[in-house]
């Protein structure tokens, strides 16, 4: 089974996860014919393969330049199945935050339609294993409808807030839900699957696994939930103190925001 791997605009952290313990079984069957990061190969080598000649093509990262777009099109042409890997390829990811200052990258799915999307920044080993097994058996797993809160070990209770807080302002000894502490934890609007690794390590969820199936506008929903919990008398003060709205709400999916899509359409028109 021939596979090809390529990094577009990303930190390059997704494909090293191939070396994780869960995957050697998969790679014992695979022949890597193109991996630009490991072997400094020219993209034109890929063009020598016959159409649909490669079994699986893994594309990590978002697309900003014409060269990256061309590479994605070549992958689509040469690979029987294309797998978009990581938050950058799916929603623009961290490089997508460039949209706050101007033209930023777009996700892979804006240009080609992949057979499978593997979420995460980077995807966890069990997610990789489940997705690849599903892909080979012809039944790729569907996105979960359940949020990260299902896997989170912290205590949940009803709450009202008098202010928002940043993570360093919280007491690490308090095992309460981060939302009840006023921290913008994206767990409630993020699909499960990561095993709540960040939360188990004591850090709020950043939302790299993307929205649960059927949920749209997760940033707005998280904002709505937290603002609803504010005590009205202290709400204005809390909103004034609130720093980094984009980072807290759209850390991984700013590139898919409808307002920014509209702006980019107007620019290109």
């Amino acid at each position: 089974m021939k596979i090809a791997v390529h990094n577009l605009l990303s930190c390059g952290g997704c494909d090293p996860v191939f070396f994780l313990e869960e995957l050697p079984e998969f790679f014992s069957q695979a022949e890597v014919v193109f991996w630009s990061k490991v072997k400094d190969e020219e993209p034109k080598i890929l063009k020598k393969f016959p159409d649909q000649g490669i079994e699986i093509g893994f594309l990590c990262g978002a697309i900003k330049s014409a060269g990256q777009e061309e590479m994605a099109q070549v992958f689509r042409k040469k690979c029987r199945m294309v797998v978009a890997v990581g938050a950058c390829a799916l929603w623009g990811g961290i490089p997508g935050l460039l949209w706050a200052w101007g033209e930023g990258p777009r996700p892979v799915s804006s240009f080609i339609s992949p057979e499978l999307c593997i979420p995460g920044c980077p995807p966890e080993g069990p997610t990789w294993a489940a997705c690849l097994q599903g892909l080979l058996s012809g039944q790729p797993p569907k996105p979960s409808e359940e949020p990260v809160c299902i896997e989170c070990p912290r205590n949940r209770r009803p709450f009202r807030l008098s202010s928002f807080r940043r993570f360093p302002e919280t007491d690490p000894e308090i095992p309460e839900c981060y939302l009840s502490l006023g921290v913008f934890c994206a767990g409630a609007v993020t699909q499960k699957g990561c095993g709540a690794r960040c939360l188990k390590a004591g850090y709020p969820c950043l939302g790299c696994y993307g929205p649960p199936a059927g949920l749209s506008a997760r940033g707005e929903r998280l904002l709505s939930a937290l603002v609803s919990a504010l005590v009205p008398q202290k709400a204005s003060q809390a909103l004034t103190r609130w720093t980094d709205p984009i980072g807290s709400l759209y850390r991984f999916d700013l590139a898919t925001h409808p307002l920014l899509r509209k702006r980019s359409c107007q620019r290109s028109a």
Binding site: A100, W101, S216, A217, G219, E220, R221, L223, S224, V227, S228, L230, P232, A235, S236, L239, W242, P245, I246, L249, H257, P258, L259, L260, R261, K262, R263
Partner: protein, 129 residues
């Protein structure tokens, strides 16, 4: 093209105010599209964001403070929209594209004036950009 305005009007006050205004058959801006909603407190921010992506301006009109049919829907909506304004500024959008009005069912004329005022503001911005 005249600027398009989507108006979310609370059915207990602003939508009635618009109905009262309609008896006088006034002329309203050509791009104004009113939508009747149950309460401004029930307005999802997602809907407002999508409306801002479709139109030049979004008007949200609800009951004055203390007069909400559902006790605190307008209070909640006010906070949500204030928070959304902060997000819009951070996204590089003009927060003035989102206008919030609090008026009662008898203030139809004021609603008409405010719609025209908003329309003129948006027209000036269009010409300026």
């Amino acid at each position: 093209m005249p600027p398009k305005i989507i108006g979310f009007l609370c059915e207990w006050c602003a939508a009635r105010a618009l109905e009262n205004l309609a008896f006088h058959r006034p002329e309203l801006p050509p791009g104004f599209q009113p939508l009747r909603i149950n309460c401004t407190g029930s307005l999802e921010l997602e809907v407002v964001t999508k409306a801002l992506a479709q139109a030049e301006g979004v008007l949200v009109a609800g009951c004055p403070s203390g007069e909400c049919h559902f006790k605190e829907g307008n209070l909640r909506a006010g906070l949500h929209l204030e928070a959304l304004r902060r997000v819009l500024s951070a996204l590089g959008e003009d927060p003035r594209r989102l206008k919030v009005l609090w008026l009662s069912a008898g203030e139809g004329e004021r609603l008409g004036e405010e719609i025209w005022k908003f329309y003129r503001e948006l027209s000036h911005e269009d010409r300026g950009s």
